[in-house]
């Protein structure tokens, strides 16, 4: 606020009373509170969303906090980017350059990669495909880390009056005729400390499948790329064959999809089993569609291990995305026995 701001860190008392401030004010507030609690804490500067070159110049756009832990190492904290995120350091800032303002001085450092498992998105469904082509089922959506934030922002980043319709729209994007029968988002989505976001959804979709005398054609609902907003990898155009330069996703991410579809009696999955698999240190994927008894089992796991990928990571990245899209874009054909 106001002129003469620059790199000035305001006094904690001021920020505390104002209950507001830009990133450096919040970083300063946290430093004040940590010091009051007996910790050794300092400011640090970073360049959110872009790179820092190794030259002594002002290449910073964001201020954060470091705190010294019991082992003498410094831990990064970002009080600006983490409200309603279950992280103390936003993993949307992993692989990012920063300089600490510590008494002993510090060189340019980079934040570490955050394990994909810290940012899992799990969508688990059970459904029943009726012989008239309608689909009824339940979804359980849960997520952690940045993926938690992406799902939770349907609530914390949106007017309370829109909470239910935000989730309903996720279903309508796949099938405009979908009906949201029940939604349970827990007691209070704002209470992010209580645990990972957990949505329980009941739905029905009339006329979902194409039903003929001897075939049913449909796509497992969980395979249809629900909650795309939490799946940054799906926004990439994978028709591009090569990349010359590095590319950036929002965050590392683990996507785990699972659905058990109870099939109408007398129908079988014409291909019996489909496997889609890719393996690389940067990105891997494993998808399967198989009939087991009267159920069709769909599973997909996509592990995206970085935020900033090198050009050579593009091939495994696009392969994993294509594998996920394969199940979304290629309907299942059931044959009457």
């Amino acid at each position: 606020m106001g002129p003469g701001e620059g790199f000035t860190l305001h006094k904690g008392e001021m920020t505390f009373l104002d209950r507001c401030g830009v990133c450096k004010d919040k970083a300063g507030m946290l430093i004040t509170m940590l010091r009051a609690a007996g910790f050794e804490s300092y400011p640090a500067m970073t360049m959110a969303g872009s790179r820092i070159d190794y030259i002594p110049a002002d290449q910073f756009n964001h201020s954060v906090t470091v705190v010294k832990t019991h082992d003498g190492k410094y831990k990064m904290l970002d009080p600006t980017w983490v409200p309603f995120l279950r992280e103390l350091w936003s993993s949307a800032e992993q692989q990012q350059g920063y300089v600490m303002g510590v008494p002993e001085g510090a060189d340019l450092l980079y934040t570490p990669v955050s394990d994909a498992a810290n940012h899992y998105l799990r969508i688990t469904g059970t459904s029943e495909l009726k012989s008239d082509g309608s689909l009824e089922g339940d979804l359980i959506v849960t997520a952690e880390g940045q993926s938690d934030g992406a799902i939770r922002c349907n609530f914390t980043g949106s007017a309370k009056s829109d909470w239910k319709s935000n989730i309903e729209k996720e279903l309508l994007r796949i099938a405009p005729q979908a009906q949201l029968l029940a939604l349970d988002y827990g007691k209070d989505p704002y209470d992010y400390m209580a645990g990972p976001i957990l949505l329980k959804i009941k739905y029905r979709i009339p006329d979902y499948a194409v039903v003929t005398a001897d075939q049913i054609v449909f796509t497992p609902f969980v395979a249809s790329n629900l909650f795309r907003g939490a799946q940054g990898q799906l926004s990439f155009n994978t028709t591009l064959k090569d990349r010359k330069y590095s590319f950036t996703d929002r965050c590392s991410r683990l996507v785990e999809l699972k659905e058990t579809v109870k099939l109408p009696v007398g129908f079988r999955f014409d291909r019996g089993k489909i496997n889609m698999h890719s393996s690389d240190a940067a990105v891997s994927s494993d998808g399967k569609l198989v009939q087991q008894g009267q159920n069709l089992e769909f599973t997909f796991k996509g592990q995206y291990n970085k935020r900033i990928y090198e050009a050579r990571d593009w091939e495994p990245f696009r392969l994993a995305v294509d594998n996920q899209n394969f199940f979304a874009l290629n309907p299942v054909v059931l044959i009457k026995q």
Partner: protein, 604 residues
Amino acid sequence: MKIFIISLIIIFCIVNGLSAQEENADALFLKQRKEFVLNADGSMDYNYSHQLKLITYLASDKQYGESFIVFNPAFQQLSIHKAQTTMVSGRKVKSPDNAFNEVLPQFAPNAPAFNHLREMVVTHTGIEPGATVDFAYTIHSKRDFMPSLMGNELLPATAPVRELEIVVKVPLTQSISYQLFNNKTNAIIKSDGVYKIYTWKFSNVKALTHEAFQSKDNRLLPRLSFSTGKLTIEMITAQPAFALEVNDAMKAVVETIKTKETNPLQIALHIQELVVGDFSTIAVPPAYTGFRLRTPVEVWNSNYGTEPEKALLFAALLKQAGINCIVSAAAFKGFMDNQMANPLLFSEYYVLIDFGKAGNIALSPIKLNDQNPLVSQPNRELAILTPGKGLKTVRIDQEKNQVQLDGKLILDDNGKTTGLCNVLWSGIMQPYLRIMRNEKAVSGLFTDGINTQDIKTYIVNENKPLLLKVNYTIDKSDALHESSGLYYMSLPQLIGDAALWGLSELPTTRTESLELPVVTDQEYNLVITLPATVTLISPDIKKNVKNSAGTVEISFKKEGQAVVITRKLSLSTLVLKPEQVSDLKVLMNVWFNKNYRQLILKKI
């Protein structure tokens, strides 16, 4: 005793009503007051105050941390009386001195003529869920800044308002004309010996919603419009800008266009492309300049203008080209009160061109519409802004808005499709202006199933302002998409198809009426002949639904090697009440269903 019980019931209802309102709100205006004063010396004051309770983190962290007040320092003076937060603990925190920062309004960059405008950003300190913000300010306007004291106040705000009061004070010798739309509250009119005071008091005003497809110009929302001026429009059109004078450079450009084109419509469209494309549009609402509009020459020389300024520039160039036109503004139907118009209600500006027998066509100075933008807008009126004349309005009729395709296609063994499609668009669906700009655009009017390169030839049988008939010869080499051993063939879809309107994500819960872009009849009749080597997997379909929103009919039927397909949609109700929206969803769910928009085939 009886009175006591009734009182208890009333109190219970009020309390519960408020609770229900607050339950889904992120914030609540406990009080909001807007006072408009015309002083005896002609100056004006706008006194605003509110008491806002923040309920959620969204409200305190993202929505209400700052207030924004735009004003024109050349004519107006802003005084902030109060910016104080009462925290949950009861502690009162005033916004400090550095919480008041003037910036350039978001809509005024890159435009020196408007760079003197200012936006005061007030940072509210001490905010947290449960806190209450008290805020009050006055904007004092010099005499003659505005042509008259006027207001256009939507009653709903971003949060529910428990108590809303709107007050208009004018000298005893004056009076106001006013209209209260979609609300029946009566004004309390009294005098304090100096002013005649009009007061409206509202309670429990529900908040604006984010629902899509709300009424155009928000005409169905409660709104108060008032003005002291009987001659406001005459004062605005008396400005030099309405003389439509041009300079030598403008004359030269017009002459260049005229050497290339002789048809008046083509000349007008070329001038429109110039005004739309070569002059930046600055989104400064005219009220912030007191409806002062720069002359066409000034706009030409600066290379930018507001929408009404660009309309005047457009009109000046047309006039120079010898094309008869008038500047006009659109507003919702019924916005005028006893010939007294409130220009704050104008939402878009156009140039209305008289093409004689071809009729009037409105052209926008800020965008290139496919069709005359005023076709089939029965809930709007066009205000004619002619200097020296009182305001006249032009009614906009509902036309028949059709999309119709009759096609016969033959699929061969290799997935190649050939055949004929006879297509008709009418009313607002006819992309008349797009085609007049470039006749080749006719080949780009399919949005699915057939691409531009699939059109071998086309013949335009009829192209009138409200009707287009085209015969297409189709030659598509890759009509089938294979997946899991089945082949999928997308059916043709045309520009204007209701499936393209964005209705697919309508939630089931609706609180406001829904207004469709237009009422329409859409029809696709197709006969697709399959080769002997291909069998149809898609089942016979027969769907018929009729309800308060309209009708939909889908039919897929196999007749020998041919598939006979009929898809019909009639949306006959322009405005649907919230309880009717489910009927619309029923129709559209059938229309959208991808299983009814494609054929599934199998090679034998």
